[in-house]
Each structure stands twice: as C-alpha cells, then as structure tokens.
C-alpha cells in the first residue's frame, strides 16, 4: 500500500477516527458532508494536523506515529497536495508557483524553472508562465495547482475539493480533464469531495465519512447501489429506511412497518427508488400493501419530473411527472397517501 493511514484526533467538536488505504494507481474518494472531517483527515496525512493516535505509513515508511514519538514534518513527506481554492501564491508568477516545490528542495533555480516550464507545457499552460495566478480562470488555476503538486514527483497525491471552486458550466469538462490528468499520475490519489458526481467520475473506491467515522466504503457501484447511510441515500437520491425484519415484514426504526415480497430477518436496510413511490389523494384500495398517510412537505423540480417530499410516519420522496402535479394539485401542505409495491423494495443487511 502506498498509503496506509489510521488517523485519530480531536479538533473542536470533531472526533476523527478513520482508517484508509490507497494503492498505487488507485483513486480513493473521501465523500462526506461538511464538518465530517474530510479535510482534517487530508491535513493529517500531509502532516499539517497533529495526530492524537493512530499511525500513517507512506510507501511502507512510518511518517506519523504518536505512540512511538515518530513524526515526519510535511516538507519531508512525499506528498503532493492540491488545496481547496488551490492556494496558489498570489505574489508569485505561475512559473514560480510551480517551481516552488523544487526550489524548496534545493534544486537550482534554472533547473527548477526548466522543469516547471515542462509541466506547465504538459498542462497546456506554457503561455501563462509569467502571469499572476489571479489572472487565470478557475480551471487554469486548478491545473497550475496540480502541476505545482506533481512537479516534485510525490508518491501520494491529495486533492481537497478540487472542483468546488469552479462554476457549474465548466465543471463537467474539467472533471473529465482532471480524470485524464490523474490517470497519468502513477502514485496513489486521495480526493476529498462532498459531490457524489465528482466521486463517481474520478474515484475507483469510495470512503464515506460522517461525523469523523467511516460510514461506508467500497467500490463506487456498490456504495451507490446499496447506501448504508441517510447521507449517501440522499446523495444518490433514493429513500433509505432501516428496521428489523421478521417473516414478511420489516418493523422500521422510525415506526411503521414495510411489507416485503420475500421473508426477511434481522437488521436490514430498505431502499426505495422515488419513482417506485405512488402518490394518491385518497387512500388507495389497490393491492399494494404498503400504504402510508402523509402530508406534502415540499417539492423539487428536476427537468420534467418533480420530486415530492412526503412527511409522515414513513417519510418518503416520490418522483412524479410535472403533469401529475398539476392534475392532482400536489402542493405543499396537501394531505396524501403514498404506496409502494412489495416487489419494488430493495432489501439488504445492515
């Protein structure tokens, strides 16, 4: 493993205890809501936040182990960091920004500039060598930050929200570019983001962080298909319920029951896709056994579809057409019934 990190530390109200590994050529995305400890974890790996416990190995060498009194300062770790907002030095030219790491490691000025120029040419930024970072677009700044982090040829690349500073229009394209650039880097990459789309597009493996702990990890497809936390479920856009299964029924944590098609036992998750949820104005007499009363708490427009948030004993999000909303008068505050066919449920062990 290129990176094998167990990070334990307290910072304000954050209590971080995370184990994460990353192999050469692998991109691991650390996904989580604000305040989950993603950036702090990255800072700890880079040596910028002191550990209270745990151990960090980079390339099998211990760089941090408080129990052993071992701590390698940031400038001696083979780690490249692309910071949130890039943090390009505003007083230095683009070339000097990229040459900074080499100069700091004692490479003579001429040689450092030559290699920085090469990297900028690779990133298609050769003509901006003498420009100040503030005159570049967000995407260009991101590439300069990447060049600056990679020019010293680190074994590990850490990226903190590399796409967050970009506007929505350019994001898709830059996400694709970043993916191509990451693929050329041979070491391990850890990317922190709160955007599922970034994680899906860039990473091989997902680690979901919530309140300082790993809530779920696995391949991107697994995590997306079977979310194990409300946070991921919301990101993926599906309803996630949890309860104890017995026979053909799941007794939900939040109250209420869900009838299942097959027998079910133990602690389980029940995932329901919003377009499997039907909304009725009157209690349906149909065959669906899963029928719950509720009240519309809000609506979101998604193209020609509308997502309706129904509050009640079993809160659900339903996806219906805009036409149905107009026809049935599905507005906030309206009392409705939701129903789900037992065959449309997805069940997996918690």
């Amino acid at each position: 493993m290129t990176l094998d990190a167990t990070v334990r530390l307290q910072l304000g109200s954050l209590d971080l205890d995370v184990h994460l590994t990353a192999a050469d050529g692998e991109t691991v995305a650390v996904l989580g809501p604000n305040g989950a400890g993603k950036s702090t974890f990255l800072r700890a790996v880079a040596g910028l936040a002191p550990l209270a416990g745990g151990r960090i190995l980079i390339d099998r060498a211990v760089v941090d182990d408080p129990a052993d009194g071992r701590y390698v300062v940031p400038e001696r770790r083979s780690v490249g960091v692309v910071f949130q907002n890039y943090l390009l030095f505003p007083h230095l030219s683009v070339l000097e920004n990229v040459a900074f790491g080499l100069r700091s490691r004692g490479v003579p000025r001429g040689e450092a500039r030559r290699r920085a120029r090469e990297w900028l040419a690779r990133m298609d930024l050769a003509r901006y060598c003498d420009a100040k970072p503030s005159s570049l677009s967000g995407g260009q700044q991101q590439r300069v930050a990447l060049a600056r982090a990679l020019v010293t040829e680190p074994r590990l690349l850490l990226l903190d929200e590399p796409l967050a500073a970009l506007d929505v229009g350019t994001r898709t394209e830059l996400r694709r570019e970043l993916r191509a650039e990451l693929a050329q880097f041979e070491g391990a990459r850890v990317i922190v983001t709160h955007e599922l789309l970034d994680a899906v597009a860039l990473a091989d493996r997902l680690v979901v962080l919530e309140r300082g702990r790993v809530a779920q990890q696995g391949s991107v497809t697994d995590v997306v298909a079977q979310p194990r936390s409300r946070y991921v479920a919301d990101l993926v856009g599906i309803n996630l319920l949890r309860g104890i299964g017995r026979d053909h029924e799941v007794a939900l944590e939040s109250g209420g029951t869900v009838a299942t098609a097959d027998p079910v036992a133990g602690d389980v998750y029940v995932a329901i896709h919003p377009h499997s949820v039907t909304v009725h104005l009157r209690e349906p007499a149909a065959s669906a056994r899963n029928v719950w009363p509720g009240r519309i708490a809000g609506t979101d427009l998604l193209g020609d579809r509308v997502r309706i948030h129904v509050a009640g004993e079993v809160p659900l999000v339903a996806e219906v057409t805009a036409a149905a909303v107009a026809e049935l008068g599905l507005h906030e505050g309206v009392g409705v019934w939701t129903s789900v066919k037992a065959t449309d449920l997805q069940l997996y062990a918690a």
Binding site: L48, V73, P74, E75, L87, F100, S104
Partner: protein
Amino acid sequence: MAVLLALVAVAFFVLPLVGLVQRAPWGEVWDDLSNPAARDAIRLSLECSLWSTGLSILFGVPLAYVLARSRFPGRSLVRALVVLPMVLPPVVGGIALLFAFQRNNGLIGGWLYDTFGLQFTFSKTGVILAETFVAMPFLVITVEAGLRSMDRRYEDAAASLGANRWTVFRRVTLPLVGPALFAGAALAWARALGEFGATITFAGNIRGRTQTIPLAVYNLLETDQGTAIALSLVLLAVSVIVLVLLRDHWFGGLRDP
C-alpha cells in the same frame, strides 16, 4: 447640532496647520533650510531615523511573528510592555532609558560600555536608541495585525511543497505581509523622525550630535523663527507623505462600500 460640533472639531485640527503655513516665510524657506544648524539637524535626523527604522524591522518583525504565532504564558503581558512606549510620555521613556543604559549608574550601561564601547548619553547611538524605543511598537503591532489577518493556509501549502520554516517565512509569509510591513516601517520612521521627549532626556541636545529636527525647532524658535518654521514644514511634509503612502492600508477599510 452634531454637525456644528463636528465642524468645531474640524476647525480645531485645521487652524494650527493654517497658522503654521501662513507664518511660513515661503520665499526664504530654502535659505533657512540651508543654514548650518538646519542642515546638521536634517542630516542627523535622517541618519538616526533610518537606523532606528532598520533596527525596528530587524527586531520588531521576529517579535511580531512570535506574538502572532506562538502561545506562551505571559504573551499578553509581553504585548502590553511592547505597546507601552506608545502611550508612555516620551520624557518618562527618556528617563527610563537613562537608568537602563547610561554609563555611570544605568542597569546595563556600564557593561555595554566596557564590553562593546557603547556610549549612549550625548551620542548619536543614544538618539537612535531613543527613537527605536518609541518607534518600534508601531512596527510590531502593524506587522502582528498583518500576520494575524493573512491566510495561514498559504504557509501550509508551502510546507506541503517541501519548504522548511525559514523558506516558508522568507518566500511566503514575508511577501504576503509585505504591505503591513511597509505600513509599519513608514509609521515607525515617521514616529522616529518626530521623536523629541525621549531624545532630549536621554541623549541630550548637542548640535550635530544629538540635535535632531524637533530639538532644533525647539531651540531655534527663540532665536531664528524662520528656520524653526521651515524645519517644521519639513516634518509636516513628511507626515503628509506618509499619510498618502498609507492611505490604502490605513483607510482602505473605512471607505464607503
């Protein structure tokens, strides 16, 4: 009513300036400034104030860095002591300096003289010391404020790129607090140039050796009013120039949105 009181306040600040400027013998200002006493004072003032600014930077920047970046018991006390000369009557400062540095019965004055041959009273060194004593606090608090308001994540970025602490300081921290350092140095220089009380008490008032511009103005007011006014105008001009140089740093935040 408030406007009226405000106008009185403005007049209170403007009238003395008008008084000084209208009494200036404009036709003879240049001649006045060329007389030997004035020229000695100007030369000495420039030399001593620049030395004192240099010393303030040399010792004040590290002090500001320590105050801004490290936590240690008694930090507030240290800061209070550093700022004290800004509110202390300069004469008291001069007397205090005397009892610390004078050769005969100063706290370390005898040792400094025996070891380094440093003699402060009635010497240029004394003027520089007195000016540094009153000027350095301006530099320290300005640079400390600059260090506190800068985005420290730039320093993290530099460290992650392999820069050791000295390189981080030299190539990132210092340039980023450059404007604050410049402002602090300009303020310290202006303060040193205008220093009177501590200088006359500690270093004395000897023409060509310790008689800086303010001391010369004080002396000449009785005997050669024209030169005194001309020298005052020099100090006024310097103040205005410093104010103009610092307008962005100092008043940038006060501008209307």
